[in-house]
């Protein structure tokens, strides 16, 4: 079910403002790719173009191609809604729906699917909820209070609930936008362990400000930076995580990962 992503010559605009320029990279299926770089360099923006979530902001558009197993998600006949159903996303701040129970949060995405002819009887829903919550390492903690509001959980549990919600629809790709930046170290560790498990089944792209995290969870790392003040963001280099953190090709990458700047 995991698919590969090929991005070529991607320019991202907010109205007339060119935010990110000339990004080209590939992500292999069932790997974890980390985006690192200073704030405002466009790594979250690039991530959000992978499931067309940047279009939520009025005036945002892209030039270039994003291929999901060879199919351009920006083709004119592609509905962004369908793109988002196949590419899941986890946000910086845990965002379970506060008016829904834990159970309803997990199946929120499935309730939207009506084209595939998914079974939606109680028993198969129960199975999906258990499977997804187990997949998110949350089942044991919440199995006795599935009907309680999701907002009553701790921050780390809420974030795992959001991951359960994202994987319940069995996406091809899982995008994570700084998923641990609002969490304490213990919860962060739990999420990192989870990412380790999830990469068996999903293609994962994660944006992080935490370079140790990038080093721990990813096999490939991409470093983003601004071309200069007032210039658009760009991808400086991408390579195996071990290489990026030890012997990067570019001077800017080395400065950043060694803490000399950023």
């Amino acid at each position: 079910m995991a698919k590969r992503i090929d991005v070529s010559d991607l320019d991202i605009y907010y109205s007339k403002f060119l935010a990110v320029e000339g990004v080209t990279f590939s992500v292999e299926p069932r790997t974890v790719t980390a985006f690192i770089g200073p704030s405002g360099c466009g790594k979250s923006t690039v991530l959000r173009t992978l499931n067309r979530m940047h279009e939520v902001i009025p005036g945002a558009y892209v030039n270039g191609k994003v291929l999901l197993d060879g199919e351009n998600i920006y083709d004119s006949d592609v509905d962004p809604v369908n793109v988002r159903r196949t590419i899941g996303m986890v946000f910086q701040r845990p965002n379970p729906f506060p008016t829904m129970s834990i159970y309803d949060n997990v199946i929120a995405g499935i309730k939207l699917e009506r084209t595939k002819g998914v079974k939606r009887d109680r028993a198969s829903m129960d199975a999906v909820v258990e499977k997804s919550l187990r997949g998110a390492n949350l089942w044991e903690e919440v199995k006795d209070r599935l009907s309680r509001p999701g907002s009553g959980l701790s921050g780390g549990q809420q974030q795992r609930l959001c991951i359960a919600r994202a994987i319940a629809v069995e996406p091809q790709v899982l995008l994570m936008d700084e998923p641990c930046s609002a969490l304490d170290p213990i919860s962060t560790l739990a999420i990192e362990d989870l990412i380790e498990d999830l990469k068996e089944r999903y293609t994962i792209v994660i944006v992080t400000h935490n370079m140790q995290q990038a080093a721990r969870v990813s096999s490939t790392t991409a470093f983003f930076n601004l071309a200069g003040i007032g210039q658009p963001g760009r991808m400086v280099e991408m390579g195996p995580t071990a290489k990026i953190f030890s012997t990067p090709t570019e001077k800017a990458t080395e400065d950043y990962v060694s803490g000399r700047f950023g």
């Binding site: 499931n51 988002r84 899941g88 506060p98 907002s151 009553g152 994202a166």
Partner: protein, 327 residues
């Protein structure tokens, strides 16, 4: 926060003797805030007491059942009057107003908050705010002069095609000065209020919930149902209550439009009907002592209706407190 001062051994910024009660600014503000809160209660109590006190003479003089009588002759001897027709007219016209105004108001608010391009949205928001401030006499005049002549066709259409539903059946062939027209005018009058308040509520929905729904592959409408409506429900109910309060209590517009009649007529497109507020306004100047007291008694019932409706709404909202998103 309020007990941090008491936990400190001695905060050098707080003089001795003030540690129990906090800083001077705090105390002034607390006094002001609780004073304002108490003031509201006192006003409410005073209004209720006034209404009860002043309505007792007429209720004692009434020779018929106050709740089921459809006549209004309080100054006769013996006095004969009751609120049945007023209650009917008030509830029906307000219900028509709510049925029309709430869905449309929510629609306008949704359009402004989530669908319209920004320049259109801000213009439209400005206009609805402006409309909410238009005095009701203007709506009444407009309803009488413009809407009523032009609504005849609609009312007739309802009779022709939906006449098998008893309330739309018109046995007289006269379509003006009806509760239906009054309800439509009330709907237009409360529409800006409902839409302005719901719009404010929709804008408060955290963007992370909106994005969360969209990222799951929700269409815009699915996102609205998944993230916006549940989160905004208490505010939407408050908006409807504000509108309902205005519709229930509206005097001039209704008095202008209805041909006051003390009847209970379920054929809502036929002339006739009355409401508490309109009746009070129309009868006040010509009423004798018992007549005045009787009008106040009808005002007491209106007061109680609004209280009950509001409490009901609060109760509905509080039942789902755990899921409100406020925790």
């Amino acid at each position: 926060m309020s007990n941090t001062a008491t936990e400190n051994e001695h905060d050098p910024l707080i003089p001795h003797g003030h540690q129990q009660t906090g800083r001077v600014g705090d105390r002034i503000f607390r006094g002001f805030a609780s004073g304002a809160g108490i003031f509201v209660l006192v006003i409410m109590g005073a209004i209720g007491a006034f209404l009860i006190w002043k309505s007792i003479p007429s209720l004692q003089a009434d020779s018929t059942n106050f709740f089921t009588t459809t006549e209004w002759f309080p100054d006769d001897n013996p006095a004969v009057f009751g609120i049945a027709a007023l209650l009917f007219g008030t509830v029906i016209s307000a219900t028509i107003a709510m049925v029309l105004a709430v869905p449309v108001g929510i629609g306008i608010a949704l359009f402004i908050a989530f669908y319209a391009p920004r320049p259109v949205a801000s213009t439209l928001a400005f206009i609805t705010d402006l409309l909410a401030a238009v005095p009701s006499i203007i709506f009444g005049l407009w309803g009488l002069a413009v809407l009523m002549p032009n609504m005849q066709g609609t009312a007739q259409w309802l009779n022709d095609y939906l006449g098998w539903i008893p309330i739309f059946d018109n046995t007289l062939g006269i379509y003006s000065k009806s509760l239906f027209i009054a309800g439509v005018v009330l709907a237009i009058m409360v529409l800006p209020t409902v839409s302005a308040v719901t719009r404010e509520v929709f804008i408060q929905v955290p963007s992370e919930h909106v994005e969360g729904a969209l990222a799951l592959g929700a269409t815009r409408w699915e996102m609205v149902r998944m993230a916006v409506f549940p989160f905004s429900l208490p505010g939407m109910i408050s908006a409807a209550m504000l509108g309902l309060g205005r519709a229930l209590g509206e005097t001039i517009a209704v008095a202008l439009i209805l041909s006051a009649a003390f009847t209970i007529n379920w054929h809502i497109t036929e002339p006739g009907g009355n409401s508490f507020a309109a009746n009070i306004a129309l009868k006040w100047n010509e009423a004798g002592p018992i007549g005045l007291s009787a009008l106040i008694a009808s005002g007491l019932v209106l007061f109680l209706i609004t209280l009950v409706v509001n409490m009901l709404a609060r109760w509905i909202v509080s039942r789902r407190k755990d899921f409100s998103g406020a925790n």
